[in-house]
Amino acid sequence: MFKKLHDDGAARVTVTIDGQAVQVPAGETVAAATLIHGLSPFRTSAVSGVPRAPFCMMGVCFDCLVEIDGTPNRQACQVRVAEGMAIRRQDGAGGSAP
């Protein structure tokens, strides 16, 4: 869905997204890192289980909720990636997607 205009030369950290190790620029948000790797949806909705992904990118829509290091319902657009971070896409109200 999105691409980088150019490599900004930022230092990289390694995170896992659904168990897959990926290299992402340090300082980037979890939402940006996940979007650039083409991973969508981020979760399924709590009520009817439909797919969702980031909408606002500024912390007001709460549609980018993912599990980070075992804690569900974290706002991916508000959390910065860190070395070794485990990001999991979320199923419904919380808990990991299969």
Binding site: M1, F2, K3, K4, L5, H6, D8, A10, P25, G27, E28, T29, A32, L35, I36, S40, P41, F42, S45, A46, V47, S48, V50, P51, R52, A53, P54, F55, C56, M57, M58, G59, V60, C61, F62, D63, L65, T71, N73, R74, Q75, Q78, R80
Partner: protein
Amino acid sequence: MTARHELAVIGAGPAGLAAATTATELGLEVAIFDDQPAPGGQIYRGVERTPLADPAVLGEDYRRGAGLAEAFRASGAAYHPSCGVWLLTPEREIGLLDNGQARFVTAGRVIIAGGAMERPVPFPGWTLPGVMTAGAGQILLKSVGMVPEKEVVLAGTGPLLLLLAAQYLRVGVRIAALLDMTPRSNALRALPQLPAALSAFGTLAKGLALKREIRRAGVRVVKGVTSLRALGEACLEAVVYEAGGREQRLDSELLLVHFGVIPDSNTTRSLGVRHLWDSRQLCWRPAVDAWGNTDVEGFAVVGDGAGIGGALAAEHAGRLAALEAARALGRIDVAERDERAAPARAAVVKELRVRPFLDALFQPAPELISRLDDDTVVCRCEEVTAGQVREAVGQGCTGPNQLKSFTRCGMGPCQGRQCGTTVSQLIGHTLGRPVEEIGAYRIRPPLKPINLTQLAALDSEEGEAA
């Protein structure tokens, strides 16, 4: 121990940065709390360290933010980035989530400069992955240099949509179409406001230049678009729009929508500040005086969070609130405050002169809310549709807070940020009563998600301190 600050500023956008800088220069001890990792707010996001090879593509207005951030850094105000506010009490206790750690501070005065958010306007399919806001697209561009991979569809109304289109064109992004949903009747309705707006000729000229730039690039601009639908199963596949009574379809994987900006009022609501319905900007805003003071003692609200005025007005309003804080805290007297305030006051007046024109020109069509399809999701979190809201009203529900118990509307993680404005209007339309009589959701802390582990850590720290 709970730290105490003379002045706390919440938010590091133009209003907050200017307020903190001015207050520090006036001799106040200032702490600024911002949930972002770097100063600038949304408008000047990433301004200190742009990921773009040529930041000029963002436009000359963006550069002003660098000067604001620099002056702020030099001022000596204590800066707390990645530090969100989850609690605010009338006693001026502030609950913070500081880089994931919960803590409390208190303050002699508080200036809230929380800024704006994009107006959420529901339409069929707006919850699909691949449908985002224009602001989201711009945040990705400014902060990490990310742009749409394939052709993007832009839709809605407002200056930000034009600015994003121009910025995208400058970095080579292909725009499938710009669907202009500005009602055709707006131009006529805005006309009486034009003479006053002409004093802000520069602002108007910039807007026209953006339109020219978009036209010259050969972007397909569709005027008079009256409805929008996003189609797809797992993600967006196509956008269907109606213009001149005819439906058209565009295949696309990314749709960015924008319907103007409104104050992000959850913080001020939770504090119990009185809010007014702004019938020009179609949103709630806190009632403030000329210095930003609210009806809650010791709290001021400035910038777009107090009503949309733009980045420049926000900056000057921040300075006014800082002067008022210095007066209230006994550093300067009324005469000195008023004298020092004159340039900022004049600048605010000048900046706001163009607003009535812009507000009328870009006001979204009221039908987007009043004629919402019954099947369209209004509350994204609890997945409550417009039809369910109307049904609840039919069963005797008279306001947004009652609607919560009827439908759970507004009770999900976003705490009504996405559906609040829509719901107040929709209930008003359904009952045939003005929005100000309908009211809005009561907002309760925590304003940001905070988990039990973080709260428990707070308790044990307090215990040790005692």
